[in-house]
């Protein structure tokens, strides 16, 4: 994130500091999602050559994918609830509003 206005004050009030970090978390969420959902690539697969570890059971795979899904959704919803003002709009911070 860029503090594009340059000479913003170095220290923020605690509340706005929290807020900015929550915005960071919101931006980070898809990255976390990508990392977690890319993990199955490294699981042993039934297609692997002989001698490879036994493949992951489908029930486990299904559970994993959906648990990650639910986690992402809940995090997204939680951040939205925490960040949205009473009108339901995520606050427009004039600095972070500028694009990174």
């Amino acid at each position: 994130m860029s503090d594009a206005s340059g000479k913003t004050s170095l220290f923020l009030e605690r509340r706005s500091y929290r807020r900015r970090r929550m915005m960071d978390a919101l931006r980070l969420l898809p990255v976390v999602g990508v990392l977690l959902w890319i993990l199955p690539v490294f699981w042993p697969s039934a297609n692997d050559a002989a001698g490879a570890p036994p493949p992951v059971a489908m029930s486990g795979a299904v559970t994993y994918v959906f648990v990650v899904w639910a986690g992402l959704i809940l995090s997204g919803m939680g951040l939205w609830l925490a960040l949205a003002d009473p009108n339901g709009r995520i606050h427009k911070d004039p600095v972070s509003e500028r694009d990174p």
Binding site: L26, V34, N47, M58, V62, G88, I90, R98
Partner: protein, 892 residues
């Protein structure tokens, strides 16, 4: 078993219900009671057109064939939605700011409102999406055939497909083209889609719940059955897992129908924020029971049955006719909602970017032809709808509804994903140019056709087996599934990776090499910096357009009433009476934006340029683009200057405050001092008058002595009060000066005489250089008062044995100084700062002075425009009277 006729009846009732709901939604919206139609929930549900019949039926078939791979189609969009902050937020903002009507419109607007790009994108979209529409028709007829049993006749499926296509075309024409402005929400369409979204979700959940709890008997037994099934082991083609997730994410952003619901129909950015987690919930629920249904289907259905239809056949096999009907309606909903929105989006593109420009160019008079163009536009849009659905139907007939269609979902995704580099590059990179976008799109699309679309028909269908094995013209590196000789990649991954890589490469490379037109650069700056609230690009040389011409054109596109009110509002804003505003640049931009909402930005731009006579990007505009960094610098400099000014003001305020505080202290001290000064004589007056009154036997001499003390004290009081009054008058600036002219020498002599001369005291007064004939024009009486005061001070306080006062006139041309130099003890350094203050008395031996003399002198000199200062000399004190410049000037 439900008969086909019953099913058709149910479907017709359902369709009638959808028509009715769309109709009432339109009515409510027209009457202004459509607020509930614009809720975040409806927005989220409308996004569900992402889940087509391909995902409704196909996901289960996909899972039955390849296990968990089906879920990648949902993971990509979930990630895009959860990461809304990065791309979607900007896309929606730009779409709303530019009033984009479609993907083609957005891309064309970004690259200088280029109609060529718009046409290319439109054609690519039609090629990419038409097979997808055919797939939807196929799924409906296929699902219907399940109910009709094995004796299904060829004519039945054909006629089903025809009537479904016809119904969809009717619905889209009725509710999709009610208003010309594509930016206005199609409330009827949106609400119908939302209802269908609910239906398909409930249908899939119902089948899933029936399968898990009705057949398998709970979650744990279900999990066991999953592990025991043919897809019970994780068998994933790793490259496909990653590539398909990325592909679905790209398609989610670039699909014309998704752009329609995500951006065009978006009413409020807040809805996007809510949908960012609500839509992943929908996707998760849609895929929750896919694997269980697939596993149970594989288990209980006879071998060889089509896994794509497990959602229908499993409930039917279990005798659940009602559930199967619901499931059928779910699939029907998925298919119809996708076709409606996809057709709507495509028809907008086709009519705005292909039909309208062609029609305009065939009109000899161009945009100035009379008559209502709205009819032409609406007609073009309706015709486009019919043609696109017709294409879909024909494609379905030609392909024969075979299995080739089943693969078309991913192929279509890969086709529209080719828009993504131009789109994202356009909104994040100012350097992207029109030619770069065009090159990227063409290269990507060509690779896609060669590697993905044509091979999908199988060897010897379009491409000969010879080409498959040995490449075009025997060139081994031009094989459709092994480009550049790299073999062994999964065909889908191969096509996606190569088409997108070459697309991005061409886009970046050509963008780097070419130079954008001014309009492109302006638009680029606006797109990339959409959050900086930049001003609109100025593009028109307004002097050439006349309001009448504009009015005629606007009426033909917006309709007479809307155009009139638009013009009248603008005229009012400009403070003009009547309905014709001045064609200012600002107004022309507003008008272009309004027109763009109806006919697309490229066409709107072309129409206005026909009237106005070409775009003129002014020098200032270019400067604005080029100097943006300079502007930012200037802005920050301005801020810095402001902040410096603020701190200066603050310092001044602090000083003023300190002065006020000091003044207040001074005032208190002054009051204390004055009461003290008044009390001392009063006390002695009182005591001596008491003595006179109460003491008997005072002799005359004593009486006289006491009475003269009282008299002396009253004189002192009177003088004190006179001085105070004098000072107050001087300080308040109420004194009026009596200007007069006179010789300085005369004035000094008069002053010495008034002070008693050297007769009354021992003070010797000497004049040094006082003979200069300086003539003053000032208040001579006041000046004399100052001189007298200085002379009497010398008389009183000069403590030398032979007191001497020398009066020296220093004539410096413009300025004249009069120095009163005595030979008394020099005033102590620490007392010097105080001598001009009120009640300051130095060396006051008899206490007769009130301490106001010098204060009055200084006030008088300030009034006269001069000054009085004290200069310590080694042999005494010097008081220097600086005469006012103009007084001395007048003396020259």
């Amino acid at each position: 078993m439900i008969s086909v006729n019953q099913l058709v009846g149910v479907s017709l009732v359902y369709v009638a219900f959808l028509f009715a709901i769309a109709f009432f939604a339109e009515r409510a919206s027209v009457r202004g009671r459509g607020a509930w139609l614009r809720s975040p929930l409806v927005y989220t549900l409308s996004l569900s057109i992402y889940c087509t019949a391909w995902t409704f039926y196909g996901a289960v078939g996909y899972a039955a064939r390849s296990g968990m791979e089906f879920v990648t189609i949902y993971l990509g969009p979930s990630l895009v939605m959860i990461g809304w902050w990065w791309v979607l937020r900007k896309l929606v903002r730009i779409g709303r700011a530019q009033r984009a009507t479609s993907v083609a419109d957005l891309i064309s607007a970004r690259y200088g409102k280029s109609n060529l790009l718009a046409i290319v994108v439109t054609l690519m979209a039609v090629v990419g999406v038409t097979p997808y529409i055919a797939l939807q028709l196929q799924s409906v007829t296929l699902s219907l055939s399940i109910f009709s049993g094995p004796e299904v006749s060829e004519s039945l499926t054909i006629s089903t497909a025809f009537w479904v296509a016809f119904g969809l075309a009717l619905f889209t024409v009725l509710f999709g083209t009610r208003n010309l402005n594509a930016n206005e929400r199609h409330d009827g369409v949106v609400i119908a889609i939302a209802v269908e979204a609910v239906v398909k979700l409930i249908a899939l959940l119902a089948v899933g719940i029936f399968v898990v709890w009705g057949i398998a008997g709970g979650i744990a037994p279900m999990m066991e059955r999953i592990d025991a099934s043919p897809i019970g082991e994780w068998s994933m083609d790793r490259s496909r897992w990653v590539a398909l997730t990325a592909l679905s994410a790209a398609a989610f952003l670039a699909l014309p129908r998704m752009f329609q619901v995500l951006v065009v129909e978006n009413e409020d950015e807040r809805h996007l924020q809510i949908a960012s987690w609500a839509f992943p919930v929908y996707l998760m629920l849609m895929s929750l029971f896919v694997v269980p249904i697939a596993v149970i289907g594989l288990d209980i259905m006879p071998a060889g049955s089509n896994p794509d239809l497990f959602v229908l056949t499993v409930p039917l096999a279990e005798g659940q006719g009602g559930l199967a009907t619901l499931s059928f309606l779910g699939g029907f909903s998925s298919a119809t909602s996708m076709v409606i929105v996809a057709t709507l989006a495509l028809s907008t593109m086709v009519s705005n970017h292909v039909v309208m420009p062609v029609w305009l160019s065939t009109q000899a008079e161009g945009a100035q032809v009379s008559g209502d163009v709205r009819n032409v536009v609406i007609l073009a849009r309706r015709a486009s709808i019919l043609v696109i659905i017709g294409f879909g139907y024909i494609y379905y007939r030609l392909s024969g509804g075979g299995s080739a269609l089943a693969a078309i979902g991913l192929i279509s995704f890969a086709g529209v994903a080719q828009f993504l580099p131009a789109m994202l590059g356009g909104i994040f990179w100012r350097g992207a140019t029109r030619w770069g976008a065009l090159a990227g799109l063409t290269v990507g699309f060509a690779v896609w056709i060669f590697c993905s679309l044509l091979p999908s028909f199988g060897p010897d269908a379009v491409l000969s087996a010879e080409v498959f094995d040995n490449g075009i013209a025997g060139l081994g590196w031009l094989r459709p599934q092994a480009l550049f000789g790299i073999e062994g990649i999964d065909p889908t991954v191969h096509a996606v990776v190569w088409s997108l890589t070459l697309n991005i490469g061409a886009f970046l490379g050509v963008s780097l090499l070419t130079f954008p037109t001014p309009l492109e650069r302006l638009q680029g700056a606006q797109f990339v910096n959409v959050f900086d609230h930049s001003t609109q690009a100025r593009g028109w040389d307004a002097a050439l357009a006349t309001s009448e011409d504009l009015m005629i054109m606007a009426q033909r596109i917006l309709g007479p009433n809307d155009a009139l009110s638009l013009f009248r509002e603008e005229a009012q804003r400009q403070g003009l009476t009547g309905h014709l505003p001045e064609p200012t640049q600002g107004f022309l931009q507003t008008l272009e934006r309004e027109l763009a909402g109806s006919v697309g930005s490229a066409t709107a731009h072309a129409m206005i340029s026909q009237l106005v006579g070409g775009t003129s990007v002014s020098v200032e505009d270019l400067m604005a683009v080029a100097d943006e960094s300079a502007q930012i610098l200037e802005y920050s400099n301005r801020l810095e200057a402001k902040s410096a000014e603020l701190s200066r003001t603050a310092r001044q305020l602090r000083e003023a405050n300190a002065k006020l505080t000091a003044l207040s202290v001074q005032k208190d001290a002054f009051l204390g001092q004055i009461s003290h000064e008044l009390r001392t004589p009063m006390t002695s007056i009182r005591s001596f008058s008491e003595i006179l009154r109460d003491t008997d036997g005072l002799d005359q001499a004593e009486k006289t002595k006491y009475a003269s003390i009282i008299h002396g004290e009253t004189i002192r009081l009177t003088r004190l009060l006179d001085d105070l009054l004098d000072l107050s008058v001087l300080e308040n600036g109420q004194v009026s000066l009596n200007l007069d002219s006179g010789s300085l020498r005369d004035l000094l002599e008069q002053a010495v005489l008034s002070a008693g001369g050297d007769r009354s005291t021992h003070l010797t007064v000497k004049y040094a250089r006082a003979d200069t004939g300086v003539v003053l024009t000032t208040d001579l009486d006041r000046l004399r008062q100052v001189f007298i005061n200085l002379i009497t001070n010398a008389q009183k306080y000069c403590d030398a044995s032979k007191p001497e006062l020398s009066i020296d006139v220093i004539d410096m041309g413009a300025r004249v100084q009069v120095v009163f130099h005595d030979n008394g003890t020099p005033i102590a350094a620490e007392a010097r700062a105080l001598i001009f203050e009120k009640f300051a008395r130095i060396n006051d031996k008899d206490g007769s002075g009130a301490g106001l003399g010098l204060a009055i002198c200084r006030e008088i000199m300030t009034r006269l425009g001069g000054d009085i200062t004290h200069e310590p000399r080694p042999d005494g004190n010097a008081f220097v009277v600086h005469l006012p410049a103009q007084a001395a000037l007048a003396a020259q």
